[in-house]
Symmetry: D3
Subunit: 131 residues, 6 copies
């Protein structure tokens, strides 16, 4: 067995899995479910749990929906998770992210990786003004 598992389509899913798929589509107002959930469905407990986390954390809160997706894309880009960039990038565009904003986001993410590396290697002491 390699790392990749086949997605479980709606028609082949158990009622428990279908209930999560239904909630994903209702919450997002779409008529399809993306592969992450269909692959995670091999482990229904994780499917239910991870979806509950995403629904809560990415739902209405103190940050607006676009900013939340931008943050998700930024971390995914920093981690080099291409699927995550593609899926959360799509969600961000749906909420209004322009191509210019995406380019700027990538520039910030890459620069932060450069300066984070320098700061850590130089072991810079935190300024009292920041405490």
């Amino acid at each position: 067995m390699g790392a990749r598992r086949e997605p479980i389509e709606y028609d082949a899913a158990t009622p428990e899995v279908r209930a999560v798929y239904d909630d994903i589509m209702a919450t997002r107002n779409t008529d399809w479910v993306n592969n992450f959930w269909k692959v995670l469905a091999h482990d229904p407990a994780s499917l239910r749990r991870i979806w509950a986390n995403i629904k809560e954390v990415m739902g209405a809160g103190a940050l607006d929906p676009l900013t939340k997706e931008l943050l998700y894309v930024a971390v995914s880009a920093s981690n080099g998770c291409r699927y995550c960039i593609a899926s959360h990038g799509a969600a961000a565009r749906k909420r209004g992210m322009t191509q210019a904003q995406y380019s700027e986001l990538l520039a910030i993410v890459a620069l932060a990786n450069e300066t984070n590396t320098l700061v850590t290697a130089l072991d810079v002491a935190v300024d009292p003004q920041f405490l």
Copy 2:
């Protein structure tokens, strides 16, 4: 020599270094320079170059200043760079980040690290809808 180098204070700095310090303070409208730059000042070429990058990337653009700092904090939190969290967290608060927004940002960053790990380990294929 350990990893940590002493910060170079303004009074002890060369004219070349002072020029960068002056530009940092003028750009940020502050009367002090934080340790990252004062440590980087041991290598004036890097000081000048990195500051020019930060100034350009974090300056006016397609994303608003608060969102830009939130993205910087998010990447720094994901990378575990405490100095960077402290310094860019301070910059974000100056631009209006509330404590509730910071908590939400951390929740997103941590959750993205969880799902990025799952997606990569499961080697999920990118949905055609995302291409």
Copy 3:
């Protein structure tokens, strides 16, 4: 030259390399050698050295063989090394890992990445009870 080098098959290998291949097959009681070793064989010194490390560390010890492979899979999943997940996943299944155990392992690995991120970003002080 790209990053990928062709595997060196047994028939094309030098006696020095064949000796390692033979030891790998004898130790594992198999009749084939997986690609990692056949690619590493371009550098016979590394082939011999890395195999000696694997043989010693993954051999009989204080932890049982299945647990050792589970730990190897967990680190590989956390690092996003798909080849390593595939190869050590196969070794773990050979030693009895079930699909339910693998799903649980992935859930733990992903959750640890979430909480590790939070703990580091929040710079939590170690409790005296843990010292």
Copy 4:
């Protein structure tokens, strides 16, 4: 504000936070709560949500409790999260982990980081036997 927030002690906690603390102590059969939760308590929603995840993922399942903690320690060691090594290391020892087993775990984690790096850099193709 630096990265570090003060732990919220039981006496100073809101009823909502106390309810989580109580559940942590009841689940673990202890009379104290470790700093991670007391720091996370500044964000009660995250406190409740992360605890619910830990409780479910680390609860009874297909893997025995010691193996689960060993996996958590392994990922934390690979990520360099010292608090997490300390806290989950304590949990693992409570479930029987010996010093020899811990040394062996560290050796596996470190070796996996070595071979993961080599495999990824060499871009080794997955053997058909692993698919």
Copy 5:
């Protein structure tokens, strides 16, 4: 939109982008531009800025050109960036890197990842002799 953007060829590029392409080719004394720059060209400001950084940092300095490329390859190998290994590996070979040196470099990178993991997990105190 997926993560991958099409490269912008010279004939299709704006004068601003062509000026950077021209400088890349003149600096490197080649008649083609590699994909990184042609993909980055969708964001001309980043194209110009990143190239200026590479030109300055990788230009003449205190370290010889081969050593500089070896360091770039080493970090790229440690990060698992295959494109970067391929492109900077080619640059290193052009400057004289032999296959034996590349194998040795990979061995060092992988071993450093092993010992870095051990040192961090064991939280080793810096010796006074190193301060």
Copy 6:
């Protein structure tokens, strides 16, 4: 138990451990052993094995001794391992690394982290010229 273990001094060490310490000092022509080995000594098998790896990989080969230490420092800086930066930085200085070279090394490491992030996030296709 926290993550940190006390170093085992020569006088308190077993003959097996002393033999490794002796070989470290003889190989390096020094009269002391640094903390990494004294902490690793709690696990004599790992002490012996890791030392044998370092001795072989960092010994005479296709790359000169200074370049080897520079590569070790670069990976350690990229990984943010401060002890490793301090110890291998000292070894590099002993072999002639100047402060200007160290600054240049850090600039390369940090820039590589920036461009590696961009390349991976943009999923740049490897040019046929690099294959």
